[in-house]
Every structure is written in structure tokens, then in C-alpha cells.
């Protein structure tokens, strides 16, 4: 049996180009991994993590479990295309074996089996049925994809990604592959007979209504078309968003081996960046999109621009880094870390002389094993400071006040802007200060500081607590008593505290000890950003205010009489946007000390 026909050439070329490109990319990326990452890879490969990764590949890359969670219809669309196509290939393979036994069949022989199988008289209706069913499933996915273009809301998406030209070519090819296959197979069946419930019925219809000569004339071109579509798609795949189809698989493995984006851009980032399918799920959660109509800076566009080396500073900088999109990304890409290390690449200018003025500076006061770092912003919310003072006094805690008279910034704002090396100087200064004063516990009221103390400072021997955690601990230890005076509170999760440090329950527990807690519409992992995030240096004051107003409206809808938050920046910002009084968690506690 001959498994070659001229129409196979586009497919064969496409498949070859794709294979070479994929192998080259993956080999190069792994080759260039930082030494530490390579070590992680080697040490993880023969562990149970690899098996877990296989499971995750099936559930995510094929079944798209996480997208199902976002929206079942959207999940079905992705799964039908990915898993359906996967099954088409697998079942097609089995079909070949069923017909021909175990023998070598070239790739095009499997793919265009229907074409080459016309000489086989025997029919296995089970496969006809199966293959038609799978084709139908995939076609339904394609239909949904078309539908999504027209009406994305049905799939829970208000906005869809604006694609670049290459993506559109690949997308068009992809859309045509399966209808083309249906047509080609139906024509083949119309001439040679056979086919399942789908191709079979279409072929009988064609045989009845279309002249034989026309069918014969269309026969070869239809296979050519099908092959060409496959070829185009395969050539475009490594260079378009469809790269994600394969890239998610190594990504899942590497992530299981604990590889992550680093402070500086690294080869690993390629796996994350090219695993983005540009599904656009990150668009809707973005408040820059929903409140300000800014529609070219979201993670999907950021990753796309970075991938094609056309990232602009204005795009990299225009992000609140609130983490809402990251929490929803079906591929689990570390969007904030990637944006962070892009900023580093664009803005980090090491300067040894910078912040030389920090040397030998110490404006701290008091003595105690517990250190309190108010943070720059907290100095502008003195009620928080005095509340903390009362709480410390009530608990009988001796406190070392790190920065009540003005200290040195924790370094996170500078790091967020990409000036990583300079930020380290401030971190080093503060770290030395903490050690110098022999504290064992460091309490801060500012989630921005908290985040960097925990993630970057590596404060061995010092426990770092947010004041919400600290207050709750004091209450549970019985060192701090509050009267449950009642009152209706609602709570705003600061991005850096909630999504950033995973602290959701502690402040809630504290509030519930005082009064009733009413949750706003968006809360916990889904909470909205106040808009004043230090990560964004692009949007102006009016834009910040618009975000603040829209997110504050949710607090008013809860019926609460006070908005509580636990970040000085959020407090100031929400207070601008809301008509309700806004208090820091510590104020609420201090007001209700028993």
C-alpha cells in the first residue's frame, strides 16, 4: 500500500517545520536554564513529581479542568478542541492498526487514512462511528469558538483578546482544519462509499445531489485543502499563541520540580510566556480594563509583547499587580513575577553610590523583643500608629519602634518599579537594623512591607507578622480582650495581604470578635484592588480615584456602617472613594479594648 500522495506535502512540510522548531526551542530553553534551575530539574525528574505532572497534563492540557471552573461552556470549548483532537489522533492510530495490523505506516498515512484506505474493501463501522463522533465533538468546539468571537458573554467573558496577524492566520487555519476534514472525508465516502453517521450521511446526500464528475473534480482539491490547512497551522504553531498547546506540558513538569520565574529574567520564563494561550481570561478581572477602559496592558498583551520582544515600558509599568488575573490564569502563569523581572530588565541600573546616605542611620526608639515597623504610608495614617500603641500597651508588650520618627522604606516600592539592585540596599539596611536591635518578632501594619519582609528579607530568627496576625494571636493568648460591642463592618482585603501573603482569615476573625462582618461582592481571592497600588506608576490621580470609587461602592452595598481594612494605602484610597468611615483593623480593636 502506498502512503504518499502529492497533497500530503503541505502537511508533511508543516509537521516537519513544527517538529524542528519545537525541539530547537525546548532544547535551547533547557540548555540556557540557570544552573540552579537545572539542578532542580535533574533532582526532580525521578521523583513522584513526574507522575503527578503526568496527571496534571491530562487534567489541564487535555481536559482544561481549570477553565471548566471559570465557565463550563468555555471549558468544554477548550476541552473539545484539545482532548477531542487528541482522541482523533489516538483513535485514528488504533484504527490504522485495526485495519493494517502492526506495521510501519508513515505519519501522513495515519492522518489521511481515509484517503489511503479507499482501496481497502473491509469496513469497521465501530471506527467509522467513533471517528465521526470525535470529529463532531471537535467541530462543536470549533463552532463554539466561532460563537465566542460573536458573543463572548455566553462563556462568561466580557472581552476577548485582540490577536496579532500571525495568530489570526493560525486561528483561521485551525478553524478550517476540521470542516475541511469533514468535507474531504465526506467526498471520499461519496465516491468510494463507507463513512459513519456523519461522513456517511453527508456522502449519501452528496452522491444523490451532486454529479459524479463534480465530485471527482472536488475530491483531490478537498484533500489538498485539508492538508494545506494542517500545514499552515503547524508552521504557524511555534510562532503563534498555539505554541501553548505543547509548551504547557514541559511547564507542568518544570513547575512540579519547583522552577519559578526569578528576580531577573531567565530561560525558564520562556516556558511560562509561551504557555500562554492568549485565552483572554485575564482581561475581565483587570480593573484597568473594567474601570478605565485601558485595553492593551493586561497580562495577555504583556506576555505577547514580551514574547515578541516589543515590550514597552509604558505597558510593563501599567499594572496594579493586584494579582487578580494571576489568580484566574488557567495555565497558572506567574504573571506578577514575570512583569516584575521585565521591569527589572528595563529599569534596573545598578549604582553603587546610591543610598550612601543610609550608612549609620538609626532613628528607632524604645526597646523590646517585639519590633514594630509602621511603614512609610502608616506615618500618614497616625490613627493606626496610636491604635497600635494602645494595643501594645494593653497587651503589656515592650516594643522597639523601628520607624516612628521616619525610617527607611522597606524597598518593595522600588523593587516594584524594577530598580531591584537599589532596593536591595534599603533591604540590607533595614535587615541590619532589625538584627542590631535583637528583635525576635517583627510586626508591621503595612502589607507592602510585610510582603517584602517575608519574601525577600530572609529574616532568620525573626518572626514576621502582619498586625492582623499579631492582634489575633494576642487575643487568642488572652493578652488582649475586646468587648463584642457589635457594629456592622465590612472588610477590604488588601492585595498584598490577601493574594500576596494569603492572609484572609486573621483580620476577619478579629473583626468578628468585635461585631458583625459583612462581605462585599468581590472578596477574599477575588477582592478588588483599591487602585492606588504602588506597582502602577502610569495611571493618574483621576484614574486612581475612579477605581477607588467603583470598588468602594461594593462596601456601601453590604449595609455595613464601617469599612475595615488593614493597609494604610488602601485605607487612604478607600476613604477617598467611599462615603462610609474607613478604619484600620487596629483602630477597630483599639476602640473596643475591654
Amino acid at each position: 500500500m502506498n502512503f504518499f500522495a502529492p497533497f500530503c506535502i503541505p502537511f508533511m512540510v508543516g509537521a516537519a517545520v513544527m517538529a524542528v522548531a519545537l525541539v530547537l526551542k525546548y532544547v535551547l530553553w533547557i540548555w540556557h536554564l540557570p544552573r540552579a534551575d537545572r539542578k532542580l530539574l535533574v533532582s526532580g525528574i525521578f521523583t513522584v513529581q513526574s507522575i503527578k505532572a503526568v496527571g496534571e497534563v491530562i487534567s489541564e492540557s487535555l481536559l482544561h479542568r481549570r477553565i471548566f471552573k471559570v465557565n463550563p461552556l468555555l471549558g468544554y470549548m477548550h476541552a473539545s478542541l484539545a482532548f477531542g483532537w487528541f482522541l482523533l489522533i489516538t483513535v485514528g492510530w488504533i484504527e490504522t492498526i485495526a485495519y493494517l495490523g502492526f506495521r510501519y505506516v508513515p505519519l501522513q498515512g495515519h492522518v489521511f487514512f481515509k484517503y489511503f484506505a479507499t482501496c481497502i474493501a473491509e469496513h469497521k463501522p465501530v471506527f467509522d462511528f467513533l471517528m465521526d463522533l470525535l470529529l463532531l465533538i471537535v467541530l462543536s468546539g470549533v463552532a463554539l469558538a466561532w460563537g465566542k468571537r460573536l458573543y463572548s458573554k455566553a462563556m462568561g467573558m466580557r472581552r476577548t483578546t485582540k490577536h496579532v496577524l500571525g495568530d489570526r492566520v493560525a486561528l483561521s487555519a485551525l478553524w478550517f482544519i476540521f470542516p475541511a476534514r469533514l468535507v474531504a472525508e465526506s467526498l471520499t465516502c461519496a465516491i468510494y462509499g463507507g463513512g459513519g453517521f456523519l461522513t456517511g450521511s453527508i456522502s449519501s446526500f452528496l452522491a444523490e445531489h451532486v454529479s459524479g464528475s463534480l465530485l471527482a473534480a472536488l475530491y483531490e482539491p478537498s484533500w489538498w485543502f485539508y492538508s494545506s490547512m494542517l500545514g499552515i497551522f503547524f508552521v504557524a504553531l511555534p510562532f503563534s499563541r498555539y505554541m501553548h498547546i505543547f509548551t504547557e506540558i514541559p511547564l507542568i513538569f518544570l513547575r512540579r520540580y519547583q522552577l519559578r520565574p526569578r528576580e531577573k529574567e531567565s530561560s525558564y520564563d520562556n516556558f511560562e510566556i509561551q504557555a500562554c494561550s492568549r485565552c483572554g481570561i485575564c482581561l475581565d478581572p483587570c480593573q484597568l480594563q473594567s474601570e478605565l477602559g485601558i485595553n492593551d496592558v493586561q497580562s495577555v498583551y504583556f506576555l505577547r509583547d514580551r514574547r515578541y520582544n516589543r515590550l514597552k515600558l509604558a505597558v510593563a509599568n501599567n499594572c496594579l499587580m493586584c494579582g487578580r488575573c494571576e489568580a484566574k490564569c488557567p495555565v497558572g502563569i506567574n504573571l506578577n513575577s514575570l512583569r516584575q523581572n521585565s521591569r527589572d530588565t528595563m529599569r534596573n541600573i545598578p549604582d553603587e553610590s546610591r543610598y550612601g546616605y543610609l550608612a549609620s542611620l538609626d532613628r528607632s526608639q524604645g526597646e523590646g523583643r517585639v519590633g514594630y515597623f509602621a511603614g512609610c504610608m502608616t506615618l500618614l495614617t497616625p490613627r493606626t500608629l496610636s491604635a497600635m500603641e494602645r494595643i501594645f500597651a494593653a497587651a503589656g508588650e515592650d516594643v522597639w519602634w523601628a520607624d516612628r520618627n521616619g525610617g527607611v522604606c522597606c524597598g518593595r516600592p522600588l523593587k516594584l518599579s524594577g530598580e531591584t539592585d537599589s532596593a536591595k540596599k534599603m533591604m540590607r539596611y533595614n535587615k541590619e537594623l532589625f538584627y542590631k536591635h535583637n528583635i525576635t518578632t517583627l510586626v508591621t501594619s503595612c502589607p507592602i512591607c510585610l510582603r517584602v519582609f517575608r519574601d525577600e528579607y530572609a529574616l532568620r530568627g525573626i518572626e514576621v507578622l502582619h498586625h492582623s496576625e499579631y492582634i489575633l494571636r494576642l487575643m487568642r493568648q488572652g493578652r488582649l480582650k475586646v468587648d463584642a460591642a457589635g457594629g456592622r463592618f465590612t472588610y477590604h482585603d488588601p492585595c498584598e495581604l490577601g493574594r500576596g501573603c494569603g492572609i484572609y482569615d486573621q483580620p476577619r476573625a478579629v473583626i468578628e470578635a468585635v461585631g458583625e462582618l459583612l462581605e462585599p461582592k468581590h472578596t477574599r481571592e477575588d477582592s478588588l484592588c483599591c487602585g492606588a497600588s504602588l506597582a502602577n506608576t502610569v495611571i493618574n490621580d483621576a484614574q486612581q480615584l475612579r477605581i477607588a470609587r467603583s470598588m468602594s461602592a461594593e462596601f456601601e452595598q453590604t449595609g455595613a456602617s464601617t469599612v475595615v481594612t488593614s493597609c494604610p494605602l488602601c485605607k487612604k484610597t478607600v476613604a477617598r472613594g467611599s462615603s462610609l468611615p474607613v478604619k484600620d483593623l487596629s483602630e477597630v480593636v483599639a476602640e473596643h479594648l475591654a
Partner: protein, 111 residues
């Protein structure tokens, strides 16, 4: 040839010479961030400044000089800023002060 010690040198003028200053970068900065022109010199930024309370750094003065085309030393001054963002919370004219710091550094540092 004999060496003569004058005991003094000619003082350089302190005058801001708008005619001879190169205002190209200043214009670019104002074009990118027109709100900077709204500064009314209240000094709240400088009063609250974390870095300004530890050094001579005066954000208001430095950006005003930059607007007048006096770039000498401005980059180094802006580098004293810790970007902590207190000033942005205080500016009565709502100027994106952190953005200004970054913009001036970018323009004067040519990156």
C-alpha cells in the same frame, strides 16, 4: 613661564538661563506628563518625603529645575528618592509624583 596663583576663580553664574538652556528634555517630560505643570509649589511632597527627611533631597525643587532646563545633578538627586509613595498621597494637585521621578530619571538617564 611663571605660575601665578590668583587666589580665586571666576564664579559661574547661578542664573537659570532659559534662552540658553536646552529645553528639549523638559518639553518631552511635560508632554509625557502634563500634570507636572500643575505643581503649585506647596511643598507637601518634600515635607513628607522619606528620603528628604534624611538628606537634602527636595523633590519639588528638583522637578522645578528640570522643567526650567536645569538638568545638572537632577538624576543623582532623583536617585535619592526611595519611591515610597507618600508624596503621591499628599499632592493637592494629584500629580503622579512617583511617575514623575521615574520619568525624569528615564529622560535624564537616557534609558
Amino acid at each position: 613661564m611663571a605660575a601665578i596663583d590668583w587666589g580665586f576663580s571666576i564664579n559661574r553664574p547661578r542664573t537659570i538661563d532659559i534662552d540658553n538652556n536646552n529645553l528639549r528634555k523638559s518639553d518631552e517630560i511635560l508632554r509625557e506628563m502634563p500634570e507636572l505643570q500643575c505643581c503649585i509649589g506647596c511643598g507637601a511632597c518634600t515635607a513628607s518625603c522619606t528620603a528628604g527627611n534624611l538628606t537634602e533631597f527636595n523633590f519639588r525643587k528638583v522637578h522645578t529645575l528640570v522643567r526650567r532646563g536645569e538638568y545638572q545633578g537632577a538624576y543623582e538627586e532623583m536617585n535619592k528618592c526611595m519611591l515610597c509613595g507618600k508624596c503621591r498621597l499628599l499632592c493637592p494637585r494629584g500629580i503622579n509624583t512617583r511617575g514623575v521621578v521615574m520619568l525624569i530619571k528615564r529622560k535624564l538617564g537616557d534609558f
